[in-house]
């Protein structure tokens, strides 16, 4: 397990955020393979390819052009092939509506983008070490939002 790389997929339209994301993973001492897509449409196109390795965790930004994160979440949850893929919402918003909706639609965890780089590193490393297989069984509203 230690040697097995974790496949991570990030759907994020903002270039800076993608930079922070990749920088953070570079500094985290966990072996990961990161794939990035620029928006929702690109994400769905990517996932629909049959020959790809499905990511262990999908980081999903909510506010994206064309297809929003919520739309993507809904589509993914309807497809059986993606049922083992953990979905972490990765957003600037901390509005009740967004949290409620993504929780109901089946996201595994909700991360509010931190404004501090070391906080970002910490939260990301925490997310990828959660064993979502167990987490899903005890899914509840209280541990949905990941706080540091």
């Amino acid at each position: 397990m230690q040697n097995e790389r974790i496949h991570i997929l990030l759907a994020e339209d903002d270039e800076d955020d993608r930079l922070f994301f990749s920088d953070a993973f570079e500094e985290i001492k966990i072996k990961t393979i990161i794939k990035m897509v620029n928006d929702g449409v690109e994400l769905m196109n990517y996932l629909s390819q049959p020959d790809i390795v499905l990511p262990n965790i999908l980081f999903l930004d909510l506010n994206m052009p064309r297809k929003t994160g919520i739309d993507c979440l809904k589509e993914i949850k309807e497809i059986d092939r993606f049922k083992d893929m953990a979905i972490a919402i990765y957003s600037t918003s901390s509005s009740e509506e967004d949290i409620e909706e993504t929780f109901v639609k089946g996201a595994n965890v909700y991360i509010k983008k931190p404004s501090d780089f070391s906080a970002l590193k910490k939260i990301l490393s925490e997310v990828i070490t959660i064993n979502f297989q167990y987490q899903t069984s005890g899914l509840n509203r209280d541990n949905f939002i990941l706080n540091l």
């Binding site: 800076d16 920088d23 600037t92 509005s95 009740e96 931190p114 404004s115 501090d116 780089f117």
Partner: protein, 594 residues
């Protein structure tokens, strides 16, 4: 006096009238009978006199006959014979009359019969004496005997007559006594009739007068009501009508004509005529309404346009009601009112409302932009700052480091501002669910939330018993947190902060801030501290968004906390006021409707 009383009074009058009539008839008949008795008695008295007179006449005629006979015997003159015959006829006549008079009296009849026998006998004797020749001696003896017998018979006759007269005198006395007895009642009867009639008349007079007064009053009231209704119709721009569906009779009040711009009762009301005034596009509303009334008894209610006689366009509102009597006869009554002003102001109000809603939405989206979208670049700036602080700061000059740290502080402050702004705008946005909440429990939560600050400052929170009210719990908790948090934040250095929380039930009119002159009840909850306080002139300003009384360096803050408090209190239809005393402390008071 109401209508029911009036009815019962007319019933009373009827019964009194019938009663009086019965009593009057009774008294009158008794009186009539009494009069009859008196008349009878009077007749009887007269009768007695008549009998007496007749008897005396009989007596004197008998004497006449006797003296005529004696005259004849002495003179043999035929004139005496004539006188005798004459007296005889008169005696017979008297007898006949007496017979008639005594017809109803058996005793007198019997007396009369024996008298008749005696007289008859006497006359036979007398008549015989005229035939005899009285010149012989034998005859003289016979004559003497005859005269004696005649005298005896005459005496008997006289006694009999006298007896009869005496009897009649007794009768007369009896009758007179009876008559006097009876007649003494007459004035009483007359007086009774008079008195009773007088009572009835007086009672009737007063009753009629009273009823007349009531009628007059009712009539006056009716006139006033009718007049004031007419006036009210004119003033309020309303009018009434009724429509007898059976007779197809339509009646309009005067003001309906006026509302249509016509002279009152200037035309005969009809649906057709009315429709001439209705705006062509709205005619279907009226027709449809009428059909619904006739078929479904559904009362018509419609707002439609009317073109008045002078061409002005007005908006009418019609409300009707179907009345069905026990025979199934339908009558429609209704009110037509001119609602042009209300309608137009309603329309403009609605327009303004929509505009307001639009503006509100824009404001909300502006808020969203300001808080959410501003956060994006800010967060990035902060992240970049943290990256530079971590990696690059060692390469900077001292001035550069100073500037960089100032940038850091400024950005952090901006972050706080945006967060508070977001909190402020969400106070309005989030769904408001009111539930009965125990404020004591909320206060406990707040104390837990502020545990660190309370501990740091060694603060004392003294709370009385708080009420349970129907509120949005998390908002009230936020309110308490902000108020107590403020007291802790603006506490005096080296003095143990004490926050006293008191609650009492008050009446609105006792507190000018509630701007109500009613006895509506409110809960007044006050938070009093022994902190820095403030000058009273700022008491109102502190609730304004971003208003602060202290420099950021001394006391960090955004000036949003109390604005949020105000908004929360307003969400609960309550009030908040602040009272400051520089250097002594401050009191924040909130009022919630009880």
């Amino acid at each position: 006096m109401n209508f029911k009383n009036f009815l019962s009074s007319s019933f009373l009058i009827k019964s009194v009238f019938i009663g009086s009539l019965v009593i009057l008839i009774f008294i009158s008949s008794v009186s009539y009978k009494h009069t009859l008795v008196i008349t009878d008695l009077a007749e009887l008295v007269t009768h007695s006199y008549e009998v007496r007179i007749e008897l005396e006449q009989l007596n004197s005629r008998l004497t006449d006959a006797e003296s005529a006979k004696q005259g004849y015997m002495l003179s043999k003159d035929s004139i005496f014979f004539k006188a005798f015959n004459n007296a005889h006829a008169k005696v017979n006549k008297s007898f006949f009359k007496l017979n008639q008079l005594a017809a109803n009296n058996l005793r007198q009849q019997n007396n009369l019969d024996s008298l008749y026998g005696l007289i008859n006998f006497r006359f036979e004797n007398l008549s015989d004496s005229f035939k005899e020749t009285p010149d012989t001696s034998h005859q003289a003896i016979t004559l003497k005997k005859n005269l004696r017998d005649g005298k005896k018979l005459m005496d008997k006759i006289h006694i009999q007559i006298q007896n009869m007269i005496n009897l009649e005198i007794i009768y007369l006395h009896e009758r007179q006594k009876k008559y006097e007895n009876e007649i003494s009642f007459t004035p009483i009867f007359t007086f009774l009739v008079f008195l009773f009639s007088l009572i009835v008349f007086v009672f009737s007079y007063f009753k009629i007068n009273e009823n007349l007064f009531i009628l007059k009053k009712a009539n006056k009231q009716l006139i006033i009501t009718t007049e004031s209704f007419k006036q009210a119709e004119e003033i309020a721009n309303i009018s009434s009508w009724y429509w007898d569906l059976e007779l197809n009779l339509l009646v309009y009040s005067d003001n309906l004509y006026r509302l249509l711009g016509c002279e009152p009762q200037s035309f005969k009301p009809s649906i057709k005529k009315f429709l001439e005034f209705v705006h062509p596009s709205d005619i279907h509303l009226i027709i449809q309404g009428d059909e619904e009334v006739v078929n479904d008894n559904k009362p018509p209610t419609a707002i439609f346009r009317v073109i008045r006689k002078d061409g002005e366009l007005r908006y009418f509102k019609s409300i009707g009601k179907v009345l069905i009597d026990k025979n199934g006869k339908k009558t429609l009554i209704g009110i037509n009112s001119d609602v042009t002003e209300q309608y137009l102001s309603n329309v403009s109000l609605e327009e303004r409302n929509q505009e307001l809603e639009r503006t509100n939405k824009e404001l909300a989206s502006f808020n969203h932009v300001a808080s959410h979208d501003l956060q994006e670049p800010l967060r990035k700036i902060q992240t970049f700052i943290s990256r530079i602080a971590e990696k690059e700061v060692l390469n900077m000059s001292e001035t550069g480091k100073d500037y960089f740290s100032r940038i850091h502080t400024a950005v952090d402050r901006m972050r706080i501002l945006i967060n508070d702004l977001l909190l402020f705008s969400s106070t309005n946005k989030i769904e408001k669910i009111f539930e009965p909440t125990d404020f004591n429990v909320l206060l406990e939560n707040v104390q837990q939330e502020l545990a660190q600050a309370i501990e740091d400052k060694n603060a004392v929170i003294e709370a009385g018993n708080l009420p349970t009210l129907n509120v949005i719990p998390f908002q009230i908790q936020q309110l308490f947190t902000n108020l107590i948090g403020n007291s802790l934040k603006y506490s005096k250095p080296n003095v143990v902060p004490v926050v006293k929380i008191r609650s009492e039930l008050i009446i609105a009119k006792d507190y000018p801030i509630l701007k109500m002159d009613t006895t509506k009840k409110y809960y007044k909850i006050s938070f009093t501290d022994n902190g820095l306080g403030f000058e009273q002139e700022y008491a109102e300003n502190i609730f304004i968004l971003f208003r602060r009384l202290h420099h950021v360096k001394e006391y960090p803050g955004t000036g949003i906390g109390l604005s949020i408090c105000k908004k929360i209190v307003e969400n609960h239809a309550g009030f908040i006021e602040a009272e400051g005393n520089l250097g002594i402390g401050s009191t924040f008071t909130v009022f919630f409707p009880a």
